[in-house]
Amino acid sequence: LLRGEKISPEIYEELEAILITADFGVKTTQKLLSRVRVEAKERGISDPAALKNLLKEKILEILKSVPPHSLPDVKPLVIMVVGVNGTGKTTSIGKLGKYFIDQGKRVVFAAGDTFRAAAIEQLEIWAERVGARIVKHQEGSDAAAVFYDAIESAIHRGDDVVIGDTAGRLHTKVNLMDELRKVKRVSSRAMEGAPHEIWLVIDAVTGQNALRQAQEFNKTLGLTGIILTKLDGTAKGGIVVAIADELKIPILYVGVGEGIGDLKPFSPEEFVEGLFE
């Protein structure tokens, strides 16, 4: 991809292989390697280990260029969770519930996946596991109505956090994306400013399509954060660097397993170290 001249082509090929196989994508890989090349020349770096560290530095630069994120001080805090099919939304909501409950917060889940078989049952089991309340309607009912109901009841009962689940959907399905827009709109009617957070759940195993997902969901809803799941596998999730670079959306949490405690705040340093293991 990059015809290196000052530094041995072998080391560049090695760096390129690391980035590409970590799902950084061609464009971001080229960008990073050309920055490394320029800076290596300026700083007179040619040793392979030093070059690797320089590359880590450049990756961190991109990740840290995203403005820092903090949860707004509102009650109830309303979080809407979205993403394509099977990425880990429902499971992540369970884990997030536990996370907030451990902080002494009162949490309610909105069973907004009114479409997929046994989706409501799945979230109910999680609610029970973590000690969260759940608001649900019939399967096939209107997802926006479930969100509205959950937010209204949370206000009424003094709950601290509402986490709303939505059905998985491909960003290419216009009517399904419109449905999400409606859920967002209706939520703001239940409470001004809601949903305060809209988080996209991305599976670390996803390739370049994750960038497309982030672009489209962001265009439709405006994303305030990303959860990267299944990092306990062998996939590196490098596409989040392209997402950070292009869309400046913060990566907030990572999923590292199927259990209730398998959710950690995203650490850019840890993430970058993981790329080179």
Binding site: T21, V84, E121, T172, A210, G233
Partner: protein
């Protein structure tokens, strides 16, 4: 678009008689970038580009096609050839019940595919399938397959979640034999290919049930990791094929080439949506056009 990019680097091929090493490097570079952007694995791309180079060198530049078109045709044909192959289901020759075991990573679409496959076999091959939930770990997984089975009007084995999947596999196959089902579809729990204990569980399920088909259910939007996943499942089990799901999105689908290249196992079906009828036979030419898009 690869064709546009190739047009700019390959136009000088016209009037040169033969495709030679000297006039092909730029074109190969464009192909490489295009395949990487399509999520084809880095090592698979390397090998593929080498093979395309061999096929292209020495070819006469055909008069009717532009050099770019001819070059693309070489790449396209190579893709189709690699991903093509025998895709039939050999269950007819197996004494009933024929077991089809679906395996794969978390969230890839196994449970949904189990129901889709059941309907497909019933409609197209007049089979009498029994859907068997073997996922006793994921919340409401058994319920999910029961609901889908209901929608599909297919029988679903009443799995007892307190039993372990190997026992359930054995018992359900006996049940199918007794009740006259000629096909059993196992929906296993999603798992990581690096989870030693869970991969061992799959080996044991395979051992007690002697499946006619062991199909890896893989997400079409899988990135570079596709080779690691496929390789591990293929080495530990006797994979007979692959089902690629969520092909209805806009992913280029390079995982298809990676998986085929690394395992040699045929992609038999694609999942094309969330509804139960959204399953089709795999056509290598369609995926090839997408990968090259």
């Amino acid at each position: 678009q690869l064709s546009d990019r190739l047009n700019s680097v390959v136009k000088y091929l016209k009037g040169q008689g033969k495709i030679k090493e000297s006039n092909i490097e730029e074109a190969l570079r464009e192909v490489r970038i295009s395949l990487l952007e399509a999520d084809v694995n880095y090592e698979v791309v390397k090998q593929f580009v080498e093979d395309v180079k061999k096929k292209a060198l020495g070819q006469e530049v055909i008069g009717s096609l532009t050099p770019a078109q001819q070059f693309i045709k070489i790449v396209y044909d190579e893709l189709v050839e690699i991903m093509g192959g025998e895709t039939s289901l050999p269950m007819i020759s197996v004494s009933p019940p024929a077991v089809i075991m679906l395996v794969g990573l978390q969230g890839s679409g196994k449970t949904t595919t189990a129901a889709k496959l059941g309907i497909y076999l019933k409609k197209k091959h007049k089979r009498t399938p029994l859907l068997v939930p073997l996922d006793v770990r994921r919340p409401a997984a058994i319920e999910q397959l029961k609901v889908l089975g209901n929608q599909a009007r297919l029988s679903v084995y009443d799995t007892d979640p307190s039993m372990n999947p190997v026992e359930i596999a054995e018992k359900s196959k006996e049940y199918a034999l007794m009740r006259g089902y000629d096909t059993v579809i196992f929906d296993t729990a999603g798992r990581l290919h690096i989870d030693e204990e869970l991969m061992k569980e799959l080996e044991e399920i395979e051992k007690v049930s002697d499946p006619a088909e062991v199909l890896l259910v893989a997400d079409a939007m899988t990135g570079q990791d596709a080779v690691n996943i496929a390789r591990e499942f293929d080495q530990r089990l006797n994979l007979t094929g692959v089902i690629l799901t969520k092909v209805d999105g806009d992913t280029r689908g390079g995982a298809a080439l990676s998986i085929k290249a690394v395992t040699g196992k045929p992609i038999k079906f694609i999942g094309t949506g969330e509804k139960l009828e959204d399953i089709d036979l795999f056509h290598p030419d369609r995926i090839a056009s997408r990968i090259l898009d």
